[in-house]
Amino acid sequence: MRAQISERTLRTDRWWLSPLLTVAGLGLISVYAAIRTFMNDYYWVGEYHYLTPMYSPCLSAECVPAASHFGQPLPELPGFLTPPIFIIPFLLGFRITCYYYRKAYYRAAWMSPPACAVAEPHKTYTGETKAPLIAQNLHRYFFYAASILLLINIYDAIAAFSGEKGFGIGLGNIILLVNVGLLAAYTLSCHSCRHIMGGKLKHFSKHPVRYWMWQRISTLNGKHMQLAWSSLIFVCLTDLYIALVASGVIGDLRFVN
């Protein structure tokens, strides 16, 4: 028999603030991403060859031809479907199955638990032992897919230095570079990446290169939460900047050409 304490929690600090901010942040970003996905416009700045990461790679026939760096192997999409529909499942899958985001939304959205030592409202709990949550074990596959998309984003960022008037550097280039830098840091700091690179080994001494990589990734992994948020927010800011330039609301600040 446990000690009879009727209160759900005796915590006196603002334990509810963190889950509240998480829900608000993820909700806001989800709404923004949905609006931009279905907008199907202002994703390409022809003059400077800026392509928003939300529409990269743009593979269907309805894409602006110059924005399709890898051709248009897919037909025009029916109804309300837009080009990002092919990449969003992978990007979303990578974030949803990420060990940091799992902690964030299990706490904030599912309240399992809402905070440490605060009772959860659910009567039963099976964790990640049954469908659909057992699918969280597929995180490594989303990591592979996200790595490919990251390489494509890096290509886009480099290609953006060559606009209609040839080589040039603008604020958009800097934003695209910072964006891929943050995405690369988030992807490399992933727990699955850490495991694949060396964490699975029993004998580091027999694999010095993989041990070195594991050490570097472990350092990045310690900042996984910060990288998860900063990369997510910066993707949206990058997209917003490109949308504003593409729509003519603002002009790109040019440093060279």
Partner: protein, 250 residues
């Protein structure tokens, strides 16, 4: 400079109990355990509290202070304001014995369920040779003082008593990880972690890491690596195929 502090302490046993109010002198530099001892000496001589080293190394004085699992001896009074009422309760996850003392034998039962270190065949004690880089990962887990605060805060058993049979808890999943990462252990721990010790019940919400007084990164360095090893074995056909083709021992 001392002051009169306000405290609410849970008093009772398995038959019932509740929070009782006390006003106790608090002096500069003291920790919560000092105040509990003063309370015991001056007002509540029969107050039950388990303690031993007063240095955060024995793991005896685990309790909950203002609802947060903490060691009584490592919680400084200076972290509270003078006007604040401090609530001290026993660990919720374990059966109560009396006042602040709980029955933590659940943990010893779980400890016994984990097979001990299994060295390679033909290798006798004294013949073990290991590189430092191979053992230092699991050495982090040896810092555990077995205060069981991680077990107390883990919602899998704190909020769901029915999971106690299936779930070893973070402390003992960390023990499984320690053995699995040991360069000479041949115990084959991965399947057992998932099927016998309930690793799948963990949803990595990191409360165990948050409360650990030794600052062991239980989730990042033990539980998630074990989940990835389970994924290797059970959910990754590419790894399975690679092991077959290259005749690797998984």
């Amino acid at each position: 400079m001392g002051y009169q502090g306000n405290f609410r302490v849970w008093r009772g046993d398995a038959d019932g109990g509740g929070l009782e109010d006390f006003t106790v002198e608090v002096n500069e530099g003291e920790v919560v355990l000092d105040v509990i001892h003063r309370l015991q000496a001056t007002q509540a001589g029969d107050l039950a509290v388990r303690w031993n080293c007063k240095a955060g190394k024995c793991g005896s004085c685990s309790a909950e202070i203002n609802g947060r699992p903490r060691l009584l001896c490592m919680t400084r009074m200076s972290t509270f304001t003078e006007g604040e009422t401090i609530t001290i309760t026993p660990m919720r996850t374990f059966p109560i014995i009396r006042d602040l003392v709980t029955d933590v034998s659940f943990n010893y039962t779980k400890a016994r369920e984990i097979p001990s270190f299994k060295p390679p065949k033909g290798l006798a004690p004294g013949e073990y040779r290991m590189q430092q880089v191979d053992v230092e990962r699991s050495q982090e887990f040896r810092k555990c003082i077995e205060c069981f605060l991680c077990q107390d805060t883990c919602h899998v058993i704190r909020d769901h008593e029915e999971n106690k049979e299936a779930f070893a808890g973070p402390r003992f999943l960390m023990r499984v990880a320690e053995l699995e990462m040991h360069p000479l252990d041949e115990g084959g721990r991965v399947d057992a972690a998932q099927e016998q010790h309930g690793l799948g019940l963990c949803n990595i919400t990191k409360c165990c890491s948050e409360v650990c007084p030794e600052h062991i990164k239980i989730t990042d360095n033990a539980l998630i690596p074990m989940k990835e090893r389970v994924a290797d074995r059970k959910y990754d056909p590419i790894v399975w195929l690679g092991n077959k083709i290259f005749r690797r021992q998984p």
